[in-house]
């Protein structure tokens, strides 16, 4: 029995008898409907929170009469990540449209040495905006989660830092998909806002950017934060990816 927290494109806790790569394939492609969609999820330990009915999962997530494993049993569909302690998280998985799945292991968080005075971040869960911030990932997570007099906070967050590109050089971008395609002036203004001296820490560039997000533009990696803790799942660079899973990289349009 496996438990998965899907955090992109929906938030859900799902029990399954499929091991992670097969679960990724099933979720991306379906069993009959012929779907083709990307998703990100993390495997977690069971019984990690009292918010979910683990007994229900164990009793219902059983093989079919013909011996086929149970593909998915939804245990919860929103406000999931706030209930899961960081210690319960295992690997994170990035699934391509064709179902190929890359596993990312958690590593000790290390702040980027290549800091330009701002960061671009794509929040995945519980909300989905594309933002600019003057904070590094760990500080950003703390800022969003902690109540420092702000009106809005979230108890937990999953987000990705985004590779920044030379915004003046639109032609030689590298394979970055459609993230930076439109309204670069607005993007530049947002960056200037957070870099400026007016004390602005974050600025929303776009409220929902899911359709434009691709794995090509993940910078250092994926972050899962709750309370004061943060988990860091580094994204392999191109050369590492060639060795780890070249075919996943091709499906993700990371290689030519």
């Amino acid at each position: 029995m496996y438990y998965y927290v899907v955090f992109y494109p929906i938030e859900a806790l799902i029990a399954s008898q499929l091991e992670p790569k097969n679960f990724g394939m099933y979720m991306a492609r379906g069993s009959k409907k012929g779907s083709a969609e990307r998703l990100m999820f993390a495997e977690i330990e069971g019984d990690c929170s009292e918010a979910f009915d683990w007994e229900f999962a164990r009793s219902k997530c059983v093989a079919h009469a013909n011996g086929e494993p149970k593909h998915s049993l939804y245990l919860s569909i929103y406000r999931v990540i706030e209930q899961i302690p960081l210690e319960a998280y295992k690997n994170v998985y990035l699934v391509n449209q064709d179902g190929t799945t890359l596993a990312l292991e958690a590593k000790t968080y290390k702040a980027s040495t290549d800091w330009k005075g701002y960061g671009l971040y794509k929040e995945h869960c519980p909300v989905h905006p594309f933002i600019a911030s003057s904070l590094k990932p760990k500080e950003l997570a703390a800022y969003i989660i902690s109540d420092t007099g702000k009106k809005i906070t979230v108890p937990a967050i999953i987000f990705t830092d985004i590779r920044s590109i030379d915004l003046e050089e639109k032609e030689h971008t590298g394979n970055i998909g459609s993230m930076f395609e439109r309204d670069l002036d607005h993007l530049k203004e947002c960056i200037e806002d957070v870099k400026g001296q007016n004390g602005k820490v974050t600025k929303t560039i776009d409220r929902s950017f899911d359709s434009k997000f691709t794995y090509q533009i993940i910078g250092e990696g994926i972050y899962i934060a709750k309370g004061e803790g943060i988990l860091f799942y580094p994204m392999p660079n191109r050369e590492e990816l060639k060795e780890i899973d070249y075919d996943w990289g091709r499906s993700a349009n990371i290689f030519w």
Binding site: R29, A36, G174, N175, S178, M179, W256
Partner: protein, 733 residues
């Protein structure tokens, strides 16, 4: 040594036999070299069991298609041979069959070596991790096709010349005159014989190009539209049911199709010069008999020199230490072949024509006039190739502009690509115009024919380079399907990328030479149309203000559009079926996409194969039937207009489709190399649309138009003596 050469190049029967002997030896040497390279490639290790299985499936698919296609061609050819035998002459029928066999053999061998070489190239990359060593295996494979094209074309034509021209004396000056056959039809037998040989080559080329073109693009589009776009799986992924068909398509379209296409162009250019020489002699009583003999066989000698020169270029690349710059190495082989061809044709021409009264044949620059014309052809071919590269390579502005336009969506990708394609037509036409005027000023119409020969005289090395492309492409496919190490896939991908550029340059040569050869054939057509009255000297004038000729011109100009439209529709029909089949398989068996069950590759191969076989017949038959049907109804004047209209319209359309298609393709690649957002961006999606639209244009329509021009000219040339006399309008008075 020089004395020896002079002794050989005389016009006695023995001297001619020795010269033809030299041509035959050169052709046989090319075929022997091809055989050595064939076995050299074959003995290489094909790699793992999985690699062998994949290449076996590709080979099986390619063979099955070509077998099926050749059965159709056999029936059509049999009918044509019988008609030629009855209406023209037995020698014409035999030469036709001989031409068809030579062309079919080259296509068959090319397809075989390509399907043997692909996996071995992939394995060489796997074993050596060396770009240079892998390039050498791919080029050795490609050289088998190049040497077979040159060898078979020249061997066949030399034998036709030897048997019918020398032994049966059709090419002796006294027999280069009009004869009347049992039907009362007058023609010059030798011109009919060599025209029939060319027609045999053209028929195979037309079916191979049209059939192969439909096959390859239906498979390619089917694989891309569902596999890549809908399912999100990468190129050449074994989970894609159409991927084997796609790789089969490379072999039947880009190898067998391209080989027979260039063989046909090569033969067409040689034959057009030989025929023209016969008519010039017949129409100008002032030319000495010894000179006319030399004018007739000079093209064979120049071609033989070209083959030997090409072999040097090929050998150079095969024996030297190959660097890791494939583009440079392939160019070096091509330029070496071209350079030696210039030297060899200069020596041959000088010793052949020195001492002759060449002014009587209209040579303005003495004995070297035909050589100057040939060099003009070579230079203009290279310039046209460079122009094609400028308009289609992503290293230059036009293609980059298409890529940039993709940021604004597919509509502007298409618009910008059309613009580039249309603009790209002018420069090569101007170069062709200059080549025609200059070569004509140098050696009259014979000079124009020599310019065409010059352009294709080193076809052996250019086809070798062209065939290398699809072999490298297939090797890349096998590397992907067999999930070889990324480093191996990187090597085969890099070799494949170079193949795309060489293909665009090759198309420039094909179109340019087709135009020059068609012009020579058209001149011969006018001579043949005039019939025996040519003897009294005529001015070659086509009366374009005659309503019939003008209408013929209009219909001729429209014909390439009808032909191209039918080809595009054929590709679309077959691609649609392929798309439906791939979707069906994905839906019926989810295990395919999971990689737990194998797709049904065979059904996709069958769809492409059946689509190509059924759809190729009508366009191919139109090209043969149109001049005949219109000739027998409206007469020779109408067909004259038809030929001019078709030639002019086809040249423009062929240049447009080849360059626009190439530019769209490379525009997409430019984006994929990390520009304007790269893969996955909206610019990329738009560029993919452009590439998909351009695919059937550049790989099916463009190359087929080259053949359309020549096949119509040759059919008209053979039949004009018949429909010039017997046509509905003439009968009605």
């Amino acid at each position: 040594m020089i004395q020896g050469v002079i002794l050989v190049l005389d016009d006695t029967e023995g001297g001619i036999c020795m010269m033809i002997g030299f041509v035959i030896i050169a052709a046989m040497a090319a075929l022997a070299f091809a055989a050595i390279n064939y076995y050299g490639v074959k003995k290489k290790d094909p790699g793992t069991e999985q690699m062998v299985q994949i290449s076996g499936a590709i080979q099986e698919g390619a063979r099955a298609f070509l077998n099926h296609e050749y059965k159709v061609i056999f029936k059509v050819s049999l009918v044509i041979a019988i008609v030629l035998g009855v209406v023209v002459s037995l020698s014409g029928a035999i030469a036709f069959v001989f031409g068809a066999v030579m062309s079919a053999s080259a296509g068959w061998i090319g397809m075989n070596i390509a399907t043997l070489a692909n996996v071995r190239v992939s394995n060489e990359a796997r074993n050596t991790k060396s770009l240079g060593k892998t390039l050498r295996v791919a080029f050795r494979g490609g050289s088998v096709m190049g040497l077979s094209v040159g060898g078979f074309a020249l061997l066949g034509l030399a034998l036709v010349y030897l048997v019918f021209g020398v032994i049966l004396k059709q090419a002796t000056p006294e027999n280069l005159r009009f004869h009347t056959n049992w039907l009362g039809i007058s023609d010059i037998p030798f011109t009919m014989t060599v025209s029939s040989y060319a027609l045999g080559c053209s028929i195979i080329a037309m079916f191979n190009r049209v059939g192969g073109g439909i096959y390859t693009k239906a498979a390619d589009m089917g694989a891309d539209l569902v596999g890549k776009t809908e399912a999100g799986i990468p190129e050449d992924d074994p989970r894609n049911p159409a991927t084997i068909a796609d790789n089969v398509g490379d072999n039947v379209g880009d190898v067998a199709g391209l080989g027979s296409d260039l063989l046909e162009s090569y033969v067409g250019s040689l034959v057009s010069a030989m025929i023209l020489a016969a008519y010039i002699y017949f129409s100008q009583g002032t030319i000495a008999a010894s000179l006319v003999s030399k004018l007739v066989y000079a093209p064979l000698l120049v071609a033989a020199g070209g083959i030997v020169s090409s072999m040097v270029g090929i050998l150079f690349l095969l024996v030297k230490k190959v660097s890791d710059n494939p583009h440079k190495e392939l160019n070096a082989a091509t330029f070496m072949g071209a350079g030696f061809t210039i030297v060899s044709s200069g020596i041959i021409t000088f010793f052949l024509f020195q001492g002759e009264d060449v002014a009587s044949a209209g040579f303005a620059l003495g004995a070297l006039s035909p050589w100057v014309a040939a060099v003009l052809g070579i230079v203009s071919g290279i310039v046209i190739g460079q122009i094609a590269e400028y308009y289609t390579s992503y290293d230059y502005k036009p293609t980059q502009k298409i890529a940039s336009s993709s940021q604004e969506g597919p509509a502007l990708t298409i618009t910008q690509g059309m613009s580039v394609g249309m603009i790209s037509v002018m420069a090569p036409v101007v170069v062709l115009g200059i080549a025609i005027i200059a070569s004509h000023a140098t050696a009259g119409l014979y000079g124009v024919a020599m310019a065409a020969i010059g352009m294709l005289s080193f076809v052996t090395v250019t086809v070798s380079v062209d065939t290398y492309g699809p072999i490298a492409d297939n090797a890349g496919g096998i590397s992907e399907m067999a999930r070889l190490h990324p480093e191996v896939r990187g090597i085969t991908d890099e070799l494949d990328a170079v193949g795309n550029t060489t293909a665009a340059i090759g198309k420039g040569f094909a179109i340019g030479s087709a135009t020059l050869a068609a012009l020579s054939l058209f001149s011969s057509y006018l001579y043949a149309q005039a019939g025996e009255s040519v003897e009294h000297g005529i001015e070659l004038v086509l009366n374009m203000v005659s309503p019939l000729t003008l209408v013929g011109g209009l219909v001729g100009a429209a014909l390439p559009y009808l032909f191209s439209g039918m080809l595009i529709e054929a590709v679309a029909n077959a691609a649609r079926k392929m798309v439906q089949e791939v979707r069906r398989q994905f839906k019926a068996d989810p295990g395919i996409i999971k990689g737990t069950s194998l797709p049904d590759y065979t059904t996709c191969i069958s769809i492409s194969s059946a689509g190509a076989i059924s759809e190729m017949k009508i366009p191919a038959l139109i090209s043969v039937a149109t001049p005949l049907v219109t000739g027998f109804i409206f007469g020779a004047g109408f067909v004259g207009g038809l030929l001019i209209g078709t030639t002019l319209s086809s040249v423009m359309l062929a240049l447009y489709t080849a360059n626009a298609g190439g530019a769209w393709d490379n525009g997409k690649k430019y984006v994929e190399h990390g520009h304007f957002g790269g893969k996955g961006s909206n610019a990329h999606k738009a560029a993919v649309v452009g590439d998909t639209v351009g695919d059937p244009l550049k790989d099916t329509v463009g190359p087929s138009l080259d053949i359309l021009i020549k096949i119509m000219a040759i059919v008209s040339l053979i039949a004009v003596s018949i429909f010039g006399k017997f046509n509905l309008f003439a009968l009605l008075g």
